[in-house]
């Protein structure tokens, strides 16, 4: 049974992506006790799956390394992975959260030596790579995974593979008897930082995602460009493994669209501008990018990043929402539409089309087990009715990393205000 020591001076942070980690660390570094919950087996969230950040083109796992080091050095944060909140009762200053813990089948004896993975034969989709490629069913979610412990995929439990993993482990780290459990955690305040999910591109029917292999999403493209990804950082298109040199980026794939997401997801324009660099990095001689857009939203100081991409001869800009995509005989996706600046019709074949999919709050369609005020897109609003449950990061708005971290820092203070009040009352 997992033992969690928490009181109503504890801050419960739900979500272990960059926002949740930030909220947890900022609160802990201000001297507060924190319980940090993550649904997946490792912390890091979606930013850990990005290759580079705009506008610096630096690597997200560099910041993750720092945050993990802060975490390792700070005994005030208790991390629970594979944890989901199923209920929250009580009120500001006195909450009890019911948390479901899924079994990892690997205990803290694990040294991450990898012997279990060698022993296991079953392969499963690799969610870290958005299922582009497979991994062993005994796996470490990524090279940066924290906790640095292996996981057994539930599909092999009860199969000889699980036994093989157990037999291969010299350290008694495989525990096939682990069961799902439910724990209650006290908290004075809750920071809800469950982040976002990419909009389901298959719903944008005219673009044929799911029908055409060479139509992929922007988050998948990150994995293709990443040296840690399924292609070792080479941009190879899914249909035939050919190098994709002529890449189209379609903006507002789902965003600004009343058939899909009515809001603008803010980060997609910058993400595509950034991804044109990947194309150039992969094919310095003959890489070519085309951005189809309605408005380029390179907001505030990111404008210069846009101007630099704009000045790059290998990148073209077409003011147009692509009407539809078809596939030619060579498996090339063909974008059809009209450049609205002066009405020019086009049907352009590309090696690969990347849909800049919108940002949907993870909370959308998922009942937060407490009464929360959200806007029409499902983002948590700042509202007194939420008591001491504070949204942070992309659970509150379509934000880029920078703004998500700011939001999480602010949420940490709001949570501290509540637990400080509890502490003052208890003195």
């Amino acid at each position: 049974m997992t033992d969690v020591v928490a009181t109503n001076e504890t801050i419960l942070v739900v979500g272990g992506g960059i926002s949740g980690m930030t909220a947890a660390l900022e609160a802990a570094e201000t001297g507060k006790q924190v319980v940090l919950l993550e649904k997946n087996p490792a912390l890091g969230g979606r930013t850990a799956q990005l290759y580079r950040y705009f506008p610096k083109m630096c690597h997200p796992i560099c910041g993750l390394e720092i945050n993990l080091r802060r975490l390792k050095a700070n005994p005030r944060v208790l991390v629970l992975t594979q944890a989901e909140v199923t209920g929250i009762s009580g009120s500001a200053g006195d909450y009890t959260a019911t948390v479901k813990l899924a079994p990892r089948y690997v205990n803290e004896n694990c040294t991450a030596c990898g012997a279990c993975a060698e022993a296991v034969k079953t392969e499963v989709d690799n969610p870290f790579n958005y299922n582009l490629g497979k991994m062993k069913a005994a796996y470490i979610p990524s090279a940066m995974a924290y906790p640095q412990r292996y996981v057994l995929h539930p599909s092999i439990i009860g199969t000889p593979d699980a036994e093989a993993a157990k037999a291969a482990c010299k350290y008694g780290a495989i525990d096939l008897e682990q069961k799902e459990e439910s724990v209650e955690i006290k908290a004075g305040a809750v920071v809800w930082a469950t982040g976002w999910q990419p909009y389901d591109a298959a719903k944008i029917q005219p673009y044929g995602y799911g029908r055409y292999k060479n139509v992929i999403t922007s988050v998948e493209f990150e994995r293709l460009a990443d040296p840690h990804g399924p292609t070792g950082g080479k941009i190879l298109r899914p249909s035939d493994g050919k190098e994709a040199k002529n890449v189209a980026f379609i903006q507002c794939a789902g965003s600004r669209d009343e058939n899909h997401l009515r809001h603008c997801s803010r980060f997609c324009c910058m993400a595509s501008l950034k991804q044109t660099h990947y194309v150039r990095e992969n094919s310095p001689e003959d890489g070519k990018s085309t951005i189809y857009y309605i408005d380029i939203r390179a907001i505030d100081r990111f404008e210069d990043f846009y101007q630099k991409v704009r000045d790059d001869a290998s990148v073209s800009f077409i003011k147009s929402k692509v009407a539809r995509i078809s596939e030619d005989d060579n498996g090339n996706p063909v974008c059809w539409g009209v450049n609205t600046e002066g009405y020019k019709r086009y049907s352009n074949a590309h090696d690969l089309v990347v849909l800049a999919v919108g940002m949907e709050p993870s909370v959308k369609g998922v009942a937060i087990p407490a009464s929360i005020v959200a806007d029409s897109s499902g983002f948590i609003e700042a509202d007194p009715a939420n008591g001491a449950i504070f949204g942070a990061g992309c659970a509150t708005n379509a934000l880029d990393v920078n703004r998500a971290v700011q939001s999480a820092t602010a949420a940490a203070l709001r949570a501290i205000q509540v637990v400080n009040k509890v502490a003052r009352a208890e003195v």
Partner: protein
């Protein structure tokens, strides 16, 4: 504290270490060469039993210094958590067996490598002490907020709500700043359809009623002295009075000015009263007080209005603002609604190139369209002022009409935000000259009675007494934003945070978030200051640079190079370290030519003794030795992850993690070369415009110092290639092993260093 020191080495045999290495031989090295008093082996050191063994030694055997030879210092940190002891981690797993082939031929060199690492671990731990932290730093818990606009007011209220006293200083005679000049604001809540009340009056009332917040109006900061937890701030009031406040930490929320529309004569500003900027329109709307907005030229109600977006912004000519201010599209939409809400018959057009309404601003945009605001994608060339109306000439980009025109009673220019960030302390000589020229030109123009060009000489906001300058260093275009994406509050002055549009162009929603976040960081800074703990990125670090003043030559390199302005000079011109400003990067230590600066657990000695501990085989062994000094934030994790992938690299290298390339003292390199190392690789983060160094200037300064190593090499008659400076990113998991191997081959080809055996 003259505590008895007892050294213990623990060598793990798990994860294949026992199979791949001769652990008994390693234990022998630890005991004989490493002079460890306790040496233990364990089959599985990180499990409960292994950890209990170490804890027992601490409790019952008096062990104070621990050398753990097992996996990387990045792994198993919960198990090997001994905060009260000096701990060195020797990396035999990721550092040795995972990067070496498991073959008979490789066995000897792999064992050599492991033994050297044990030697190094022992040497390191012997040179370390567990940092105790300095409790004698300040403990003031009051926040100073500079600027009484929305951002400053928010920061003050939030800090007060958290339980901290606040001093709020506002330059003007009332609180509210830019927001107080607005008729309405952009909505912050569902349904995002109509302009909303600013709420500023309410905030001002809350501040007035808060006994925890002390407000100074008509006041500026005359002087800021001290460090987090013990700032002493002089506040000058217009009346001439000067007050002194003791302050724990500071939030600078000095906001922005609108870009001067006088610089946009081609858009008719200054030529017709009917061309206004966004502030001008807010003033008209306020005056109208809900009634029809009147045309300045003749006081008649406006019947048509055109908004020109990006006026003097997103400029590529170099004449105006190169950036987008981010909020103006929504602001113009809001202002367009002032007209449509009062009278739907008013022709209202917004001319834009890219409409930028992120998030639910899209709803606000749609709402404006529903209300009949016309949006036209076009580039405005000029505004021709007439008597009572103006003609906006633009290129209609959709209809591809170069000569499109709109006639309007009123034209509103959406000029952008210019930060009030004080003096640019990093200004180059050229920039200073440019500024002086502009000042002279303005003075001349004014004297000759021509159209006065706006020129206001920048004055300091904070008047810091810091040796490195009176204000916060700026990032781009005067904004004081952090350069870090993951860490938006990282300014280069510990305990001083900026928030709101001074930091980055932003709207009110974001300014509020920013202010709240900055309040947390300021509170955190003062809390940690009084505990002697470091701020980000080595948060919680209790180590602190100690300086042996008697050896100091007053060369001032440390005071100049400290990326965080932590070091001043005392009246005797010796460096004066302000502990709570320090981020523990060690740049000062790297800079010091006489090596008088050190940390308890990281010093010239902790690294130097490791370098010296390595066994250097003789010239004829065909076993060169290459020293790698790797930044612990990026290069070292990259090497670790390469090992997790089992990427192999040369057994000739010996890696020592360093806090930052900036902390690398050139003595380490000369020592290494003198000791007979055949090559030295330095692995640091990217520097330059998009630098990635977590200590801002560390890697740049480190590289600058290393560029001078060439002379040393020349003097020693060594090839310059024997020292290699590498820019490494954390993702270089495949590149790095390749580069190491290529370098090792290059060294082999070059031949062994002649300095061996001296």
């Amino acid at each position: 504290m003259a505590e008895e020191k007892k050294f213990a080495a623990y060598i793990c045999k798990g994860c294949g270490l026992g199979d791949r290495l001769d652990v008994d031989a390693l234990a022998g090295v630890a005991q004989k060469e490493g002079k460890m008093q306790v040496v233990r082996q364990h089959d599985f050191l990180c499990n409960a039993d292994g950890v209990a063994m170490i804890k027992n030694d601490i409790a019952n055997e008096g062990v104070t210094h621990i050398m753990i030879a097992a996996c990387s210092r990045r792994a198993k940190t919960e198990a090997f958590f001994f905060p009260n002891n000096a701990v060195a981690r020797t990396n035999l797993r990721e550092g040795v067996i995972w990067i070496r082939p498991d073959t008979e031929e490789a066995r000897e060199t792999t064992q050599d490598m492991a033994e050297d690492y044990v030697r190094m671990g022992c040497a390191e731990v012997k040179a370390m002490t567990a940092p105790a932290g300095n409790a004698n730093t300040g403990s003031n818990r009051t926040l100073l907020v500079v600027g009484g606009g929305l951002t400053g007011m928010t920061a003050a209220l939030e800090a007060s709500k958290t339980g901290y006293p606040v001093v709020l200083v506002e330059k003007s005679g009332q609180l509210g700043g830019w927001a107080a000049k607005l008729w309405k604001r952009i909505p912050a809540h569902e349904p995002f359809k109509a302009p909303a009340d600013t709420g500023i009056a309410d905030m001002a009332a809350q501040i007035a009623a808060d006994p925890n917040i002390k407000v100074y109006l008509n006041s500026t900061i005359a002087k800021t002295d001290g460090a987090p937890g013990r700032f002493v701030v002089q506040i000058a009031t217009e009346s001439g009075a000067v007050s002194t406040e003791d302050i724990g930490s500071i939030i600078q929320a000095t906001g922005f000015d609108l870009y001067d529309a006088n610089r946009l004569p081609h858009l008719g500003y200054g030529k017709s009263p009917n061309v206004v900027d966004q502030a001008g329109l807010e003033a008209l709307a306020k005056a109208a007080n809900g009634g029809p907005i009147l045309r300045p030229s003749d006081g008649k109600p406006v019947t048509s209005v055109a908004f020109v977006q990006c006026a003097g912004q997103r400029d590529t000519s170099g004449e105006h603002l190169p950036y987008c201010s981010g909020y103006c599209c929504n602001a113009s939409i809001k202002q367009a609604m002032y007209f449509k809400d009062s009278n739907p018959a008013i022709d209202t057009t917004v001319i834009y190139t890219d409409l930028r309404t992120p998030g639910n601003g899209e709803d606000f945009y749609r709402s404006a369209q529903e209300k009949g605001v016309i949006f036209t994608k076009g580039k405005v060339g000029s505004v021709a002022p007439g008597g009572n109306n103006c003609v906006v000439n633009f290129h209609d980009l959709i209809l591809d009409d170069q000569n499109a025109q709109i006639e309007a009673d009123l034209v509103v220019l959406a000029t952008g935000q210019v930060p009030n960030s004080g003096i640019n302390i990093d200004m180059s000589a050229e920039e200073k000259a440019e500024e002086a020229a502009a000042e002279a030109a303005a003075a001349e123009a004014t004297a000759s009675g021509a159209q006065p060009l706006q020129f206001s000489k920048k004055v300091s906001v904070l008047n810091l007494t810091y040796r490195q300058g009176a204000d916060i260093p700026q990032f781009k275009w005067g904004f004081t934003d952090s350069h870090f994406i993951c860490f938006p509050y990282e300014t280069r002055r510990t305990g001083i945070y900026t928030a709101g549009p001074v930091r980055r162009p932003m709207d009110m929603v974001q300014a509020r978030e920013d202010a709240t976040g900055a309040a947390l960081k300021a509170i955190q800074a003062l809390e940690n200051a009084q505990l002697g703990r470091a701020a980000h990125p080595r948060s919680g670090d209790l180590s602190f640079p100690k300086v042996r003043l008697e050896g100091c030559t007053q060369c001032k390199r440390c005071t100049v190079e400290c990326p965080f302005g932590a070091i001043d000079e005392d009246e005797r011109r010796f460096p004066l370290f302000n502990e709570s400003r320090c981020r523990r990067c060690g740049t000062c230590m790297g800079a010091c030519p006489v090596r008088v600066i050190s940390f308890e657990n990281y010093s010239v000695d902790t690294v130097g003794s490791q370098i010296k501990a390595v066994d250097i085989p003789d010239e004829f062994s065909e076993k060169p030795r290459i020293l790698i000094l790797a930044c612990e934030n990026d290069a070292y994790p990259a090497l670790d992850m390469a090992a997790m992938k089992r990427n192999e690299y040369s057994a000739f290298v010996r890696v020592i993690p360093v806090r930052c390339l900036g902390s690398v003292n050139t003595i380490w390199i000369t020592d290494a070369l003198n000791a007979g190392y055949d090559g030295v690789m330095l692995m640091g983060c990217k520097h330059g415009e998009d630098y990635q160094c977590h200590f801002v200037k560390g890697s740049e300064l480190g590289r600058y110092r290393l560029s001078k190593v060439g002379d040393t090499l020349k003097n020693m008659n060594l090839e310059t290639e024997r020292v290699k400076d590498l820019e490494v990113a954390i993702t270089d998991i495949d590149n790095l092993p390749r580069i190491i191997n290529e370098y090792a081959q290059q060294i082999v080809d070059m031949g062994m260093s002649p300095f061996k055996g001296f």
